[in-house]
């Protein structure tokens, strides 16, 4: 039971490269915090700093009311699940889980109780005597989880624990992790680059980019009110449509767009209709491609006007291309001219540099 507080945490490497540029995050007791961002954004480094595997060059990290900057990983009362599981290959599953307990001088009887309990929870009981190489990827992942939970630490740290699993198993394990965390009610910090994983797991979502926090909040809040164009295009798949507001017909359509330079519209907020939106946006599109996913259909259209490019962020659409998400399997045909309309209250307005949200 502990909260984890990061106060203007910085990491500068000896070469002068600044990996973390001042991060403030407060994770409450028992909360599940997810750090999400593209590769190289510093999320793993930040997690390793919490674990004590990387030094902290500025600011403070506080676990359960104790500043841990100078404390060894072993004494921070944390457990970590690594991306490659990092199981001890020469030890049986039982010994892998017992290792951390024995190192702390726990009596063998207590070790046995704890390991067997964890094995039961994770359905590993029949394979306690096996070596890691005799296990499947999913089983290894569960052993890594087991090694973390037997210790009953204050904080769980997860470093992309599901990225080595296949898609189906990943979804199953995602749910498992969430259920387990709810039951144990242990504060957790989880790093991922998968925005879907981030959305589904998080109590608090921290979106990072370039060593900085772009936005902190609960996942739905972030989805509904992204603070920057980076968050807007990173969270949500397919990404939000971002279009520059220049002296074209868009600006004149939108009511109260003062100070805004970019408009963002989620693909699902468009309706294909002939009606004119009052205060909203209507785009004339030529259908270029169609993706059927079964329950919904993605329509890729190009705007009929020539557009100028806006700053390219990861996951952003190429300029002039618009994605429209419509329910069901029926939609327009390729080459057809359509009108995509979005109401005013579904528009996200940002400043021209994309760093700030304008309006509600």
């Amino acid at each position: 039971m502990a909260n984890v507080t990061l106060r203007s945490v910085r990491k500068t490497y000896p070469g002068g490269f600044e990996a973390i540029k001042g991060v403030d995050v407060d994770v409450g007791d028992g909360q599940f915090c997810v750090l999400v961002g593209p590769s190289g954004c510093g999320k793993s480094t930040l997690l390793r700093m919490v674990a004590g595997l990387e030094t902290i060059t500025g600011g403070e990290i506080d676990i359960g009311g104790r500043v841990v900057n100078q404390i060894e990983p072993a004494d921070r009362d944390i457990a970590m699940v690594f991306q490659n599981y990092a199981l001890y290959p020469h030890m049986s599953v039982y010994n892998n889980m017992a290792y951390g307990l024995r190192n702390r001088g726990m009596a063998e009887a207590e070790v046995k109780t704890r390991v067997e309990e964890a094995a039961r929870v994770l359905e590993l009981s029949p394979m306690l005597e096996r070596k890691p190489r005799q296990l499947s990827g999913g089983q290894r992942q569960r052993v890594a989880m087991g090694r973390a939970i037997v210790r009953q630490p204050k904080v769980f740290l997860f470093d992309e624990p599901l990225s080595n699993l296949d898609a189906k198993l990943r979804i199953a394990m995602r749910v498992e992790i969430r259920k387990l965390q709810r039951r144990l009610n242990t504060t957790s910090i989880y790093v991922t680059h998968d925005q879907l994983e981030a959305m589904t797991l998080a109590d608090i979502l921290v979106v990072m980019n370039g060593g900085q926090v772009e936005q902190i909040g609960n996942p739905l809040e972030i989805y509904q009110k992204p603070a920057t164009t980076f968050v807007a295009s990173f969270i949500g798949a397919p990404p939000m449509n971002l279009m520059p507001l220049r002296s074209d017909e868009l600006t004149s359509q939108i009511a109260g767009a003062d100070g805004a330079g970019i408009v963002g519209i989620r693909p699902e907020d468009f309706v294909i209709t002939g009606e004119t939106a009052s205060g909203g946006v209507a785009l004339g599109l030529t259908v270029e491609a169609i993706e059927h996913v079964g329950a919904e259909t993605f329509v890729y259209g190009s705007r009929q006007r020539e557009e100028r490019a806006i700053a390219a962020n990861p996951g952003e659409l190429p300029p002039g291309e618009v994605i429209v998400r419509i329910p069901g399997a029926t939609g327009p045909a390729i080459g057809e001219q359509i009108r995509a309309v979005a109401p005013r209250d579904k528009l996200h307005l940002f400043t021209a540099d994309g760093r700030k949200r304008v309006g509600p």
């Binding site: 990983p73 072993a74 690594f82 490659n84 990092a86 001890y88 190192n103």
Partner: protein
């Protein structure tokens, strides 16, 4: 996928492997066969008459307490050389594995001794530890050690072990460093988070994961100590004082070339050949199959 090359002529492939086969036959099988034949013969001191004596040379050897002593001595030497060079190399490798400045430089420097030829190693150590000339001898005597490897058999043995182990450290170091670097960093980090202090981490995680490397090097070092220390012994002590540093290989040389007892010397060579075959067998059986943990 066929990886076979197709030759037009049936003779060409044989012609191509012939030089290699010729070398192996002339320089390996021919002398080996000669040794086996010789080991069944008894020659007089002038080589004038030769008698076929069946296994008499072997029987004589096994009855000879000097030969038995040489066997014990060789095993003791091998064990001491292997253990000391392995443990010292492991210590160096563990230290060199740490991310320190200039690590490439001292890693390179640590490999250099391997390029020094065994007799040169011998000469080097002889000079440093010579009772009257040696730089190190002076310090030893200053510390109250009655240092004279030319007269004291145990000290001579220690000297040989020191020189032979020193030479092998570089080789072992290379393999240990590679072995250490192949251990995933996250496993060691996991052990650190699991509350294992550096020493415990080493003995419970790193050492067991290195066991395949250790076993491989143990066999290699024993073979080295058995056969490749000839140059060192010859330049340093010539098997003496007395027979204090005479190993099996050196005994083959002294008995055969210096003592003129070719039959016994040949029999000893054959026994050594058997030892090589056994060691190679062990290596193939366990090392090639990869030691599993």
């Amino acid at each position: 996928m066929q990886k076979q090359a197709i030759f037009q002529s049936k003779l060409l492939p044989y012609a191509l492997v012939a030089p290699q086969l010729a070398i192996v036959l002339i320089f390996f099988y021919w002398p080996a066969a000669q040794a086996v034949i010789q080991s069944f013969l008894l020659q007089d001191a002038f080589g004038l008459s030769t008698t076929f004596v069946w296994f008499e040379n072997y029987l004589e050897l096994f009855k000879d307490p000097a030969y038995f002593a040489a066997i014990v001595r060789t095993f003791a030497f091998s064990f001491a050389i292997a253990v000391s060079s392995l443990s010292f190399a492991l210590l160096l490798a563990v230290m060199a594995d740490k991310p320190l400045r200039g690590s490439t430089l001292y890693r390179t420097l640590l490999i250099w001794p391997y390029a020094v030829a065994p007799p040169v190693v011998g000469v080097l150590w002889v000079f440093m530890l010579h009772p009257s000339l040696g730089v190190l001898s002076r310090y030893l005597r200053a510390m109250g050690v009655d240092w004279n490897p030319l007269l004291d058999g145990d000290q001579a043995a220690a000297l040989i072990i020191l020189a032979a182990a020193w030479k092998q450290i570089s080789y072992n170091f290379l393999f240990f460093l590679a072995g250490l670097q192949s251990i995933p960093k996250s496993v060691i980090e996991a052990a650190a988070i699991d509350g294992a202090r550096p020493m415990r981490r080493f003995w419970t995680v790193i050492f067991p994961l290195l066991s395949p490397t250790i076993f491989f090097l143990l066999v290699i070092n024993i073979v080295y100590a058995f056969f490749d220390t000839f140059g060192i012994i010859d330049t340093m002590t010539r098997g003496g004082p007395g027979k204090a540093t005479e190993t099996l290989v050196y005994k083959v040389y002294t008995d055969g070339l210096l003592g003129g007892n070719l039959g016994s010397s040949a029999a000893q060579s054959v026994i050594l050949m058997v030892i090589v075959v056994v060691l190679t067998g062990i290596q193939f059986r366990f090392v090639e199959r990869k030691v599993t943990y």
